[in-house]
């Protein structure tokens, strides 16, 4: 076989190239094939050139070759694996070539996704409350709305007999249960008392209603006998390690023996209540009370399958008439009728609140725990969405801005036969790749940050590594990659190759309308978040510093004071000897929400109590030092005094109460109330003083009428001190306490801290909001930073020429910043009214609210502008200061 000479082969290679055979892989094969054929033909003594043309003819000349090449290309392209690999390789190369943009893109997106992920975890925990109960969708709580003489009560509690009565009267109810909150109790097995917070009385119905399984014990009768208790697994392990707790005895509050009859699994954190000890309801005297006028029992109902809660609610007015009507009537006397009662705008209405909506929708008196609020869910959801949007916008902006650099690439690819769809796929691949990187980094960030976030938000969130979660993440990465990549890819792939290669197409900053509006949008959101944060902060400061009407600083609240029994006075005197302590008051009623409260109806002396003249008023039993210790102000009359024995029937009203009674000259007026609500045995109080209104509930509420009189409420003690050395005062108090009460826990709080606790939800909101707002601005600035860097790069030549012609650095910086500066101003103009609306909506929740003046808005705008300008300034100055020689020398 005659071998072809190298010249021949070169000729064939060149000729084929000329004919357009260029596809890698295919080209070599065809060359070899043709060479072999030519060699074979030349064996028949043909000349090379004849043989070659004969072989070409077999291939169908140029046209046939190209068709075959096209077919091969198509089969190659159809195999997605190879093509994806190709896209992947090119994407990776592109990304690593432009490290700076890739870095900014990934960082911004990763931070955005991480924040979004954390917020999603936070929200989804809120949304999953109580879902773990087997029949959660059929469980309801019996709530009531009462409107009486201008007072409105929204209660999460019902009368003691409601639970058994409902079960008896309505066949559609499968089971009922009730709880009676009891607060802190001292629990002891042998010697040492442990103070337990999560205790409650519960009826045996809880097991059926909540489908609550017992780990030990019998659910049929675990809570049917007085002095029995069921406890949570963790507490059982704490008190009876390694033993069977059933049948063991616990001593409660130093006196009562309780037999353990059951152990239940701890309630998950996503339960709207938390109990460690459930005492048997029959042991509670109140539970046998047949009064329908006092409500203290959280009552839960399990409806039968298919029963409608609406139908049941429709039957409640009848229940009110049957059970409550007669009791109200006997309370007011015979001239009373329910019709009359309703005609005056009064009402008693019962309704059902679904278990699943308690955590996010219920904020009534007597809730079993602190609930969250659906607005927070919306608020944080919106913030998460905003942050993610800002991050995605960065991504889009950077990709389109970089189009100038890639325009040539697009042109060349198109000339070589790339279809638009190929390019779209290529660019999407890049963005999806970026998105996946960002997700991985985001996940790492979440892992690192979650513990700190949990502390801040007081949650116990974990990253749930479940197939569903991972699948969701992958899907989200895909979707975000697609969303963020779709615009740039369409934009870039639409270039016309002719224009691009001639250098006509748009360099980055032209056709920037979309980009500009996206930047505006980003900064609008950022400014909005800043204003939101400032508002929350200002309102919190306002509340903390508002003149409350009492002095919350430097007061220690000593708990467990009831243990002192009749030694209160001795202990008090002992306390007063301690250096620094100025006043001591023994009273459990404190001007902090959640402390002792006692509401009674009063009427003016000399009249019969009737619907018209009854006034519902807080009525607190305190001691003579109450006002001086807590620092209220007497505006009229006098404080209680030991010098007047008659003060035992004296009362001091607040200004709201005086207004409510309509007293012109309150001093010396007399008001009457029933002894413990019993109108048959009345007590008459004489007003001796008026104190200035002070806030004793959250500032979200108005100040209601309040009267204080002398009496016993010794479950806590307030100690005012005037000393900068708080620690030594505490030490001295503790020493005295130990002397009086060895073996009992020494527990105290500071009044100002207890006060601050009323606003934990808002404080938390403030902190979280601040963090996320900062993140949003940071991400937006990151984008702006890259955009300016890019513009500067684009305009290097222009800047160079300007400098050569004598432009100053300042004028160039101004030139570069002007463009984006304008955008920031526009975003401010858009953000201001939006935030104004939102801020006012939020502040509506508060009765006492701070003023959000123009200054706040201007400040937010200026801050955004400044931050943005600093970001741009860095780049601009860098560009402006560069030596024009460097930028003009090339080309």
């Amino acid at each position: 076989m005659p071998q072809l000479t190298n010249d021949h082969i070169d000729y064939i290679i060149k000729d084929l190239h000329y004919r357009g055979v260029v596809l890698d892989g295919f080209r070599e094969e065809v060359i070899d094939h043709i060479c072999s054929s030519v060699e074979a033909e030349m064996l028949n003594n043909k000349r090379f050139i004849d043989a070659y043309h004969h072989v070409l003819k077999k291939f169908g000349h140029t046209h046939g070759l190209r068709t075959t090449q096209q077919q091969v290309l198509q089969t190659d392209n159809k195999t997605a694996k190879i093509m994806l690999k190709n896209y992947f390789t090119i994407a990776l190369r592109n990304l690593s070539k432009h490290r700076f943009y890739t870095f900014i893109n990934i960082t911004g997106l990763a931070i955005g996704i991480a924040s979004c992920l954390i917020i999603t975890l936070y929200i989804s925990q809120d949304l999953s409350f109580d879902k773990h109960f087997a029949n959660a969708d059929r469980i309801y709580r019996l709530d009531s709305e009462t409107h009486f003489n201008g007072n409105h009560f929204s209660l999460a509690v019902a009368p003691p007999l409601a639970a058994p009565t409902l079960l008896h009267d309505y066949p559609e109810i499968e089971a009922t249960a009730n709880f009676r909150q009891w607060g802190w109790r001292r629990v002891r097995r042998t010697t040492d008392n442990i103070k337990e917070q999560y205790t409650v009385f519960g009826s045996n119905g809880i097991f059926k209603t909540f489908s609550l399984p017992l780990l030990h014990g019998n659910a049929a009768n675990a809570l049917t006998e007085p002095n029995t208790v069921v406890m949570s697994r963790s507490k059982a392990e704490q008190y009876f390690p390694g033993e069977n707790p059933i049948g063991q005895t616990l001593i409660i509050d130093n006196k009562d023996n309780y037999k353990v009859t059951g152990v239940f699994e701890d309630f998950p954190a996503t339960t709207h209540f938390k109990f460690d000890f459930i005492f048997a309801m029959p042991g509670l005297e109140d539970s046998k009370d047949n009064s329908w006028l006092s409500s203290n029992f959280n009552t839960y109902i399990l409806l039968r399958n298919g029963a409608s809660p609406k139908d049941l609610e429709a039957k409640f007015p009848k229940m009110v008439e049957t059970y409550i009507g007669p009791q109200v009537k006997s309370f007011f006397g015979n001239d009373f009728s329910m019709q009359d009662f309703a005609a005056k705008g009064n009402k008693i209405q019962y309704m059902l609140t679904p278990l699943l909506s308690i955590h996010l929708h219920s904020d009534k008196t007597g809730e079993l725990g602190t609930n969250s609020d659906i607005t927070y869910v919306y608020l944080f959801g919106a913030v998460a969405f905003f942050i993610l949007t800002i991050a995605c916008i960065n991504f889009m902006n950077l990709s389109t801005a970089r189009s100038a650099n890639r325009a040539k690439e697009v042109g060349v690819r198109k000339v070589l036969g790339s279809l638009r769809s190929h390019l779209v796929r290529q660019f999407l691949m890049e963005s999806i790749l970026l998105s996946f990187f960002s997700f991985m980094i985001a996940l790492a960030i979440v892992y690192l940050v979650l513990p700190a976030f949990n502390v801040l938000a007081e949650r116990n969130l974990v990253v749930p590594i479940t197939p569903l979660f991972v699948a969701t993440l992958v899907l989200a990465a895909l979707v975000i990659g697609l969303l963020a990549g779709i615009y740039p890819s369409l934009f870039l792939s639409a270039f016309k190759p002719v224009n691009v290669l001639k250098g006509k197409v748009a360099l980055g900053m032209k056709s920037g309308a979309v980009r500009s509006s996206l930047v505006v949008f980003q900064f609008m959101i950022s400014i909005f978040l800043v204003i939101g944060t400032i508002t929350v902060t200002k309102q919190m400061d306002f509340i903390q510093n508002k003149k409350l009407g009492f002095k919350k600083d430097q007061v220690i609240i000593l708990h467990n004071a009831e243990l002192l029994e009749n030694q209160h006075e001795t202990f008090r005197n002992e306390m007063l000897k301690v250096a620094g302590i100025t006043n001591v008051s023994v009273a459990g009623f404190l001007p902090i929400a959640g402390w002792g409260r006692n509401d009674n109806s009063f009427w003016p002396y000399g009249k019969q109590p009737s619907q018209e003249n009854l006034i519902s008023m807080q009525n607190w039993a305190v001691d003579t030092d109450y006002i001086s210790t807590l620092g209220m102000e007497i505006v009229q009359g006098r404080d209680f005094s030991r010098a007047f024995p008659s003060d035992s029937t004296a009362i001091i009203l607040n200004e709201s109460a005086v207004k409510r009674y309509g007293f012109k000259d309150p001093i010396g007026e007399k008001i009457v109330t029933g002894n413990n609500g019993d109108f048959g045995h009345t007590i008459t109080y004489t007003v001796i003083g008026v104190m200035r209104d002070f806030h004793f509930e959250s500032l979200k509420q108005n100040i209601t009428p309040l009267g204080i009189h002398l009496g016993k409420s010794g479950w806590s003690m307030s100690i005012r001190f005037a000393s900068s050395n708080t620690a030594s005062v505490i030490q001295d108090v503790e020493k005295t306490w130990k002397k009086f009460q060895p073996g009992q826990p020494f527990e105290y709080t500071f009044l100002d801290q207890a006060f601050g606790k009323m606003y934990t939800a808002e404080k938390r909101l403030e902190r979280l909001f601040g963090i996320f707002a900062a993140l949003a601005i940071m991400i937006a600035c990151l984008g702006l930073f890259a955009l300016t860097a890019f513009t500067a790069e684009q305009r290097t030549k222009e800047i160079g020429i300007r400098k050569v012609l004598g432009a100053s650095v300042a004028s160039i910086v101004l030139l570069l910043s002007k463009e984006f500066g304008k955008l920031i101003v526009i975003s401010f103009i858009l953000a201001a009214p939006l935030s104004w609306y939102a801020v006012n909506r939020w502040l509506e929740n508060y009765t006492y609210k701070t003023e959000i003046g123009i200054a706040v808005y201007l400040f937010a705008g200026a801050a955004a502008f400044l931050v943005a300008w600093l970001t741009m300034g860095f780049q601009s100055v860098k560009a402006a200061r560069s030596n024009p020689v460097n930028s003009l020398r090339s080309e």
């Binding site: 190298n6 082969i9 070599e28 065809v30 094939h33 291939f59 077919q71 195999t79």
Partner: protein, 86 residues
């Protein structure tokens, strides 16, 4: 076998009656390669590059299937058409 060799071999086996067109051969080879039926090996011969194709295990199995299918088809057709192959 490389592309040219395949055409020659087919020509030889069919006594010159079947001549594979190059236009059909290469797209098919690339398709079979992408489907994992063929392995390729590239050898340099001077200035030329030669690409050898061999059946993979999967390709072998598929080939056997296809051949027996084809035989089946011929048998069916022969009984339908009432003709006998020697």
């Amino acid at each position: 076998m490389y592309g040219y060799e395949i055409t020659q071999r087919v020509m030889e086996l069919s006594d010159g009656r079947i001549s594979l067109t190059e236009g059909a051969l290469y797209p098919t080879l690339h398709k079979l390669e992408a489907e994992g039926m063929l392995n390729t090996e590239v050898v340099n011969i001077g200035k030329r590059v030669r690409k050898y194709y061999t059946l993979t295990a999967a390709g072998n199995a598929t080939a056997k299937d296809r051949v027996s299918e084809f035989l089946d088809f011929i048998e069916t057709m022969s009984s339908v058409l009432q003709v006998k192959f020697s």
